[in-house]
């Protein structure tokens, strides 16, 4: 059973003279519980695709299915509900709430989730059990990103979408963050999609999707999947 299936989705930005075709007919199926890595040059449409899968954006044409629901037929309210119940997001720029502590940033999401884990538990998974009461301004970039991951996984999401989660981090920290993602995936069976510019990371994926110019150039199934901690760059 697939988690996501897209049918010929396109995304066109702008109207009139200058139009940007960010996606030009993308067909893909993502299976339940697999880790997908999205690779591709800048501007190839990775983020656009991820945003559409996560219910943040509508495609210009085509259909997106989540299990047996057609996301493209959902209105804003239903999409908000979908994100709330199913999706965990991790962003390149963390997007933590500066006025809330690490624990509170996580609690913010667990309060509106159905069967969340305790914020402390989620923070322990990413190794931050000692920093519960620190504000974002008191954490390093990597620590902030791990809080963001804790926030994404604390509600035990079915889907984890990460847009360049290691983009702003050094490799040591990057590996710690990837390990956290990996652990969540294996413990909760979360379907995970991860955008990166770092080809090495594709080693931990079940499948790698190469994007170019708004289309899927190729999909590779990883022959010998590696643990995050064994990756080197």
């Amino acid at each position: 059973m697939y988690t996501f299936k897209t049918q010929n989705i396109t995304k066109v930005y702008g109207t009139g003279e200058v139009q940007v075709h960010a996606l030009r007919g993308v067909n893909v199926e993502i299976d339940e519980g697999e880790i997908i890595v999205l690779l591709g040059p800048s501007g190839s449409g990775k983020s656009t695709l991820l945003n559409i899968l996560g219910g943040l954006d509508h495609p210009t044409a085509g259909e997106v299915f989540f299990k047996d629901r057609e996301l493209t037929a959902c209105d804003d309210r239903a999409l908000t509900q979908f994100r709330r119940e199913e999706v965990g997001f991790v962003f390149q720029f963390y997007n933590l709430i500066p006025s809330l502590t690490a624990q509170e940033n996580v609690a913010l999401v667990t309060e509106i989730a159905r069967e969340p884990m305790a914020p402390e538990e989620a923070l322990a998974i990413v190794g931050l059990e000692q920093r519960l009461d620190h504000f974002p301004a008191q954490l390093s970039g990597g620590e902030q990103q791990r809080v963001a991951i804790a926030r994404a996984i604390a509600k035990r999401p079915g889907i984890l979408l990460c847009d360049e989660p290691t983009g702003a981090l050094d490799n040591e920290t990057g590996i710690v963050v990837l390990e956290a993602i990996e652990r969540v995936q294996s413990e909760l069976g979360t379907t995970t999609a991860l955008i990166t510019h770092n080809a090495v990371i594709s080693g931990m994926a079940d499948r790698v999707i190469f994007m170019a110019n708004g289309q899927i150039a190729k999909i590779e199934t990883t022959a010998n999947k590696q643990k995050a901690r064994d990756l080197h760059w």
Partner: protein
């Protein structure tokens, strides 16, 4: 086309970017400017008009009423040092019967001044003409009275003149500076139907009242440097043998006092209310500019790095604020002049000035502009200084993430249990305490303006309630022609329909305590009076002691009198008895200065037997027509005041002179609340747009995100409500204090419903501005927040 410097182009673009906020602030400023221009512009115009009116119609400066004096006395009065001109009159009060009015009215008969050049107290003919000198039944009537009865030149009405009913024909209708505010006997406020001024040929009055070659009132104008008290003393001395009851100056002239009070009120309103707007405007400017400087940190650093001086940068932000202030000033000037003109017209109508000068006073405009710029400067000072001081290197380094702290409140278990959304709201409140304070205070000030404004309704109700329903419980009061003996008491109770009658006696007296003197009516009230009652501060009925006088609290204050002290009471009637009486009590009374005594005791100390001035009556409604018909034919009765119509005319008077202003201020207060809340919300949105976008991405609904943004403001508005009530009460207390005059004191009561109404209006305008901002939360672009770094 002029090429703008890049920095100025930035300024215009920035202004355009925050146009809605800038406009909200400009409107608050405009309200302040408009209030100043309106209140003071109206005041100046009215004062100038009044002065011109007084001068053109030769309104006298000193007045004296006496029993009867020969015209030969005029020469001796003219010789008093400082007297510029003298004129004499015959003045009498009569009952008049106007077709179509069931109850009788009171008329003030005045002899016409014969010489328009040297005479005093002329009228301004509005319709018709002066009576022909040979027509003894032709009269001129006051416009108020004529309009109330729809009388025109040529119409007729009758009057009981010295016991005989006469049919009078209206030759003309006129206005007079003496009677801008004309009040009949027993009235609290003018009742144009019940009281009119009637001018007649002197010869007609001389014949009717047997005053040939004599007069019973004299008026005087003064030379430039004359000593008024001296002239009054000399005049009293000269008139004493002729039954003079004491000369008085314009200070004690009823109509002039009224005008002065009205002008004081206008001034008080301008002085008390305009600062509110300017203070709030300063708050708003401070909030907006400090936010602007904060967001433009890097730009400021860049400008300085490229070689712009600190002064250029300071000047840039100064211009920004000044531009907003200027927009506000312009709107305020136009609005203020427009409203001032309207208000002046309304007042001029109300006062019935025969002509009107509305002048846009440049001095007032200058003051308005100056104080506005002052408040704007106060608002921007700290932020502009910050911009000037910013070191370029510091400014261009990436901004340190906003630091939040845990605060005292968080130690409580309540806080720990509260939802994270609530944490978010409270942290933001604590993160920027000054902004929170100014926002809350701004809303509170708007609330206080509403409370103060609505307070006038409460004060009116309370006044009427205490005066007419608790204290003065009669239906009708009648006045007797002269003080007759007690037999009239029995007559009054035997008038048709009278259920109860209580006589009273009013003696004009001078009260002296130490060096203080007050001219008032000493009122004799019969023992066990049920209709006209005296109340103490707690509203309990006071029984008058057998001896001694009771003073109203205002009178006691003027005399600085305390119970137990002895008062010199000098009656201003013919015999002028002078007695010393103890003060035995103080009563609470909002209207007028008076002193009270037991009626029998008053008769005793005045000598000359029992006397009455009138009676308070309870009258059977079904027999009112018969009652009025009878008193119209009764020469002994000089007039009647019907309580219901007095209350009506009181409400009408208040309505005309005050409610228009009140309407303006309700609008103004709403603008303040809207401006404050809107600005705070827009700034919060601009600071936290990214954060809110992230929350939306995480699955929070629009409503939840809006709650997290506006919850903070909601708390501030809720805090502002009680604060506004307290501030409003303080302002109402100031107004009550500043409005207090010898004519009236405004009770300081604010009903809970008033506070509730003010709170509702405040909440409503806060909600409106919240909705305006919430619409923006709904339109938040979710993806863009993920793309940018903070």
């Amino acid at each position: 086309m002029v090429k703008l410097a890049s920095l100025d182009r930035k300024l215009l673009r920035d202004l355009w970017h925050i146009r809605a906020q800038a406009l909200a602030i400009a409107l608050v400023i405009a309200c302040g400017v408009a209030t100043i221009v309106m209140a003071y512009g109206t005041l100046r115009s009215l004062e100038q008009t009044k002065d011109a009116y007084y001068e053109r119609y030769r309104f006298a400066e000193i007045f004296a009423v006496l029993k009867r004096a020969p015209l030969s006395l005029v020469d001796r009065i003219a010789l008093i040092e400082g007297v510029a001109s003298v004129d004499t009159r015959i003045v009498e009060q009569v009952v008049i019967d106007v077709p179509g009015m069931d109850r009788p009215a009171t008329g003030q008969l005045l002899s016409l001044s014969e010489d328009p050049e040297t005479g005093l107290n002329h009228f301004a003919i509005q319709l018709g003409q002066r009576p022909s000198p040979v027509e003894n039944d032709e009269v001129v009537v006051s416009e108020n009275f004529a309009e109330a009865h729809e009388l025109n030149p040529g119409d007729q009405f009758s009057a009981i003149i010295n016991g005989r009913k006469r049919l009078l024909t209206i030759a003309g209708i006129a206005l007079s500076p003496e009677f801008v505010y004309a009040i009949g006997p027993g009235q609290m406020v003018p009742d144009d139907k019940a009281f009119g001024i009637i001018w007649m040929n002197r010869s007609a009055l001389e014949a009717a009242f047997d005053l040939k070659g004599a007069f019973n009132e004299v008026s005087v104008t003064l030379m430039r440097h004359a000593q008024e008290p001296h002239v009054i003393a000399r005049l009293d001395f000269l008139l004493e043998p002729y039954g003079g009851v004491g000369a008085y100056g314009r200070v004690d002239h009823f109509s002039d006092t009224f005008l002065r009070n009205e002008f004081v009120q206008l001034r008080v309103i301008g002085r008390a209310i305009a600062p509110i707007f300017l203070i709030v405007a300063a708050f708003l400017l401070h909030i907006v500019i400090s936010r602007l400087v904060e967001t433009e940190r890097e730009q400021i650093g860049l400008l300085k790095a490229f070689g712009y001086t600190d002064r250029d940068v300071g000047w840039h932000y100064f211009k920004f604020v000044t531009a907003i202030a200027t927009i506000g000033i312009l709107i305020g000037l136009v609005g203020g002049v427009w409203m001032g003109r309207g208000l002046t017209n309304i007042y001029a109508d109300f006062f019935r000035f025969p002509f009107l000068h509305y002048e846009m006073d440049l001095g007032v405009v200058g003051i308005a502009v100056f104080v506005t710029l002052l408040s704007a400067s106060a608002g921007m000072a700290s932020s502009v200084r910050k911009a000037v001081k910013l070191a370029p290197a510091v400014a261009m380094a990436p901004p340190a993430p906003a630091r939040y702290k845990r605060t005292l409140l968080e130690q409580t278990t309540w806080f720990r249990k509260a939802s994270t959304g609530a944490h978010l709201i409270l942290r933001h409140l604590e993160h920027r305490p000054l902004r929170a304070l100014l926002t809350s205070l701004g809303v509170a000030m708007s609330g206080s303006l509403l409370v103060t404004t609505f307070y006038f309704f409460d004060a009116t109700d309370e006044l009427l309630d205490v005066y007419y329903f608790l204290s003065q419980r009669q239906d009708i009061s009648i006045g007797y022609n002269q003080s007759k003996d007690e037999r009239i008491y029995y007559e009054a109770s035997r008038l048709p329909g009278v259920l109860r009658a209580e006589p009273f006696r009013a003696v004009p007296v001078k009260l002296k305590l130490g060096h203080r003197v007050e001219r008032v009516s000493l009122l004799g009230v019969p023992e066990g009076a049920q209709l006209s009652r005296l109340l103490d501060k707690e509203g309990e009925v006071i029984t008058l002691p057998q001896d001694g006088v009771v003073l109203t609290d205002m009178l006691a204050e003027n005399l600085q009198a305390r119970p137990g002290q002895d008062l010199i009471v000098e009656a201003m009637d013919e015999r002028r008895p002078k007695v010393v009486l103890p003060i035995v009590g103080i009563v609470e009374q909002y209207v007028g200065l008076s002193a009270y005594m037991n009626l029998a005791a008053l008769d005793r100390v005045m000598g000359g037997g029992k006397a009455q001035s009138g009676a308070h009556l309870l009258v059977d409604k079904s027999q009112e027509a018969a009652f009025f018909a009878t008193i119209k034919e009764t020469p002994a009765i000089s007039g009647a005041t019907v309580k219901a119509s007095a209350i009506q005319s009181f409400r009408d008077t208040i309505a005309e002179s005050m409610y228009i202003m009140i309407g303006f201020y309700i609008g103004f207060a709403s603008i303040i609340t809207f401006g404050v809340v809107y600005n705070a919300a827009r700034i919060a949105l601009s600071e936290r747009g990214r954060e809110l976008g992230s929350l939306r991405v995480l699955g929070f609904t629009r409503a939840e995100v809006t709650y997290m943004l506006l919850g903070e403001l909601f708390i501030l508005v809720i805090i502002a409500l009680p604060v506004g009530s307290v501030l409003g009460y303080a302002m109402a207390a100031y107004m009550a204090y500043a409005f207090e005059s010898d004519l009236i004191r405004i009770p300081l009561v604010i009903y809970p419903s008033t506070l509730a109404t003010a709170a509702c209006v405040t909440l409503l305008s806060a909600i409106l501005s919240a909705i305006a901002v919430a619409r923006r939360v709904y339109g938040l672009d979710l993806i863009s927040v993920l793309k940018t770094r903070e």
